[in-house]
């Protein structure tokens, strides 16, 4: 059941990908559409990694500092 669900999600993910031609990329190429974070959001993630017991994935920093105050 669990494996079937994972397969369905992966299938949906890849079959829903439409080809986007270079002249149709004004939206996906917009700077705000990029998945990387700016320095302000990185600092927020750094605060979260210290003030919460969990380290969020996909962020800039995962260790290298005490953060113990």
């Amino acid at each position: 059941m669990k494996q079937s669900a994972i397969r369905i999600v992966i299938l949906l993910l890849f079959t829903s990908c439409a080809s986007v031609k270079p002249y149709e990329r004004q939206f996906v190429n917009d700077p705000e559409m990029q998945l990387n974070d700016d320095a302000g959001r990185n600092f927020n993630s750094y605060v979260h990694s210290i003030r919460e017991g969990a380290t969020p994935a996909g962020t800039l920093k995962a260790s290298g500092g005490c953060g113990c105050n």
Binding site: L13, S16, C17, A18, S19, V20, E24, R25, F27, V28, D30, P31, E32, M33, Q34, L35, D38, A39, G40, R41, F43, N44, V47, H48, I50, R51, E52, G53, A54, T55, P56, A57, G58, T59, A62, S63, G64, G65, C66, C68, N69
Partner: protein
């Protein structure tokens, strides 16, 4: 007939040795770029569950954090430097010093990182590696990283992998004028009659993976799994524990920690001015913490160079099996902490950002790329409140060189 073959043969032969004719007066110009980013972060928090005083007492803290990033791009190579400092003023810093001084309420963390990247244009591949360090009075960390990013031919899909290594030393003394070298672990003043740990090092390995895909003209998805392994001294030496029988010791945690995290991101361009950036994050570790967060940032383009960024985040975690509040641990336990960062909690974070991106030439060589202001308010379910500010300036210098 022979003449025909001779002509064809001569053409084929000359093809191998022929060079594209470049007019002698043609000069190929390259633009060397230097990107500069100036950042100032400001953080203020207050709460009443300080781990330094066993889970009770003030957590009042202010961090002033200036930093500078400079990235030099020449052809397919780039070299980036990032240096900065966090100046920390807190009530608890007063207790993390071998030379006790009531006026000594300031600590600083300085850091430096360098990253080299090379782009292989034909393969749509980027390789990068870097090293750095951070230093504070009771902590020294050396970090290194190595990774690659591969894009598909259409540049709609990317895969990334990054390996990070951190070697930390928790001894105090490096920034103290009396020593300027690592001396010893700093325990709470009244508990310095014995050594509580048999090591002072902490090592961390992170494996970060990434997959991004443009689903269609208006949607991009990203999947970011991450595994972390830590070993060594994972407890903080100056965190106090008060047992239920009123005896006092320092925090004890296992010497190994495994963390697994997965982030899913979906950015959607809705209409002509609105971008919804959604993130779901899940986390689990062998300390017994399970965590989940949902986050949305909406980018509202007021003008072509002006973007408003309201954002909201909700986070929830189960508590570590080693956590208990002040006076609730039993002295027969092996591991114990009263650090509320490891307790069962929820955090609520909301804020707003403003981005101004004029990409304007200030003179022939200098471009003002933009600036960013952010403010966020964080509330933790145990009463901790924090204000988070960031100001960012981005400029770029361009220099033409001739080939």
């Amino acid at each position: 007939m022979k003449r025909k073959y001779l002509i064809i043969g001569s053409l084929v032969f000359s093809h191998f040795f022929a060079k594209a004719q470049v007019p002698q007066d043609t000069i190929i110009e390259k633009i060397n770029r230097t990107e500069i980013e100036l950042v100032y972060n400001h953080y203020m928090q207050d709460g009443n569950n300080s781990a330094v005083t066993g889970g009770i007492g003030t957590e009042k803290l202010t961090v002033y954090g200036p930093s500078l990033t400079m990235k030099k791009i020449v052809g397919n190579n780039s070299l980036a430097f990032n240096l900065g400092a966090d100046i920390i003023t807190s009530a608890s810093v007063d207790n993390i010093d071998s030379v006790m001084s009531s006026a000594s309420r300031r600590d600083a963390r300085s850091f430096f990182n360098a990253t080299y990247e090379h782009q292989f244009e034909k393969q749509n591949l980027a390789l990068f590696g870097g090293m750095g360090f951070s230093i504070e009075s009771d902590y020294f960390s050396i970090g290194s990283k190595l990774g690659l990013v591969k894009e598909d031919k259409k540049k709609l899909r990317s895969y990334s992998i990054q390996f990070q290594l951190f070697n930390d030393d928790l001894r105090w003394g490096r920034l103290n004028p009396a020593y300027y070298r690592p001396v010893k672990l700093i325990y709470p003043a009244e508990l310095r009659y014995q050594e509580w740990y048999d090591g002072y090092r902490r090592n961390s390995c992170n494996l970060k993976l990434g997959f991004t895909q443009a689903l269609n003209k208006r949607n991009i998805i990203g999947i970011f799994p991450e595994i972390t392994y830590q070993e060594g001294l994972l407890a903080t030496p100056f965190h106090r524990i008060y047992f239920s029988d009123s005896t006092e010791v320092v925090e004890q945690l296992p010497r190994e920690r495994w963390k697994g995290a997965l982030a899913l991101r979906l950015n959607s361009f809705v209409g002509g001015r609105l971008i919804l950036k959604n993130t779901i994050n899940s986390y689990a570790d062998n300390f017994g913490i399970l965590a989940f967060s949902v986050e949305n940032e909406t980018a509202l383009k007021l003008r072509h160079d002006l973007t408003l960024l309201p954002n909201i985040r909700f986070f929830a975690q189960t508590g570590s099996t080693y956590f208990a509040p002040y006076g609730m641990h039993n002295s027969n336990e092996t591991y114990y902490t009263s650090d509320f960062d490891l307790s069962e909690l929820q955090t609520y974070n909301a804020g707003i950002g403003l981005k101004i991106n004029p990409y304007k030439y200030l003179n022939k060589r200098m471009i003002f790329n933009g600036m960013l202001f952010r403010y966020n308010f964080l509330y933790r379910s145990n009463g901790l409140k924090a204000h988070i500010f960031s100001i960012v300036f981005q400029t770029e210098f361009q220099k033409k060189s001739h080939d």
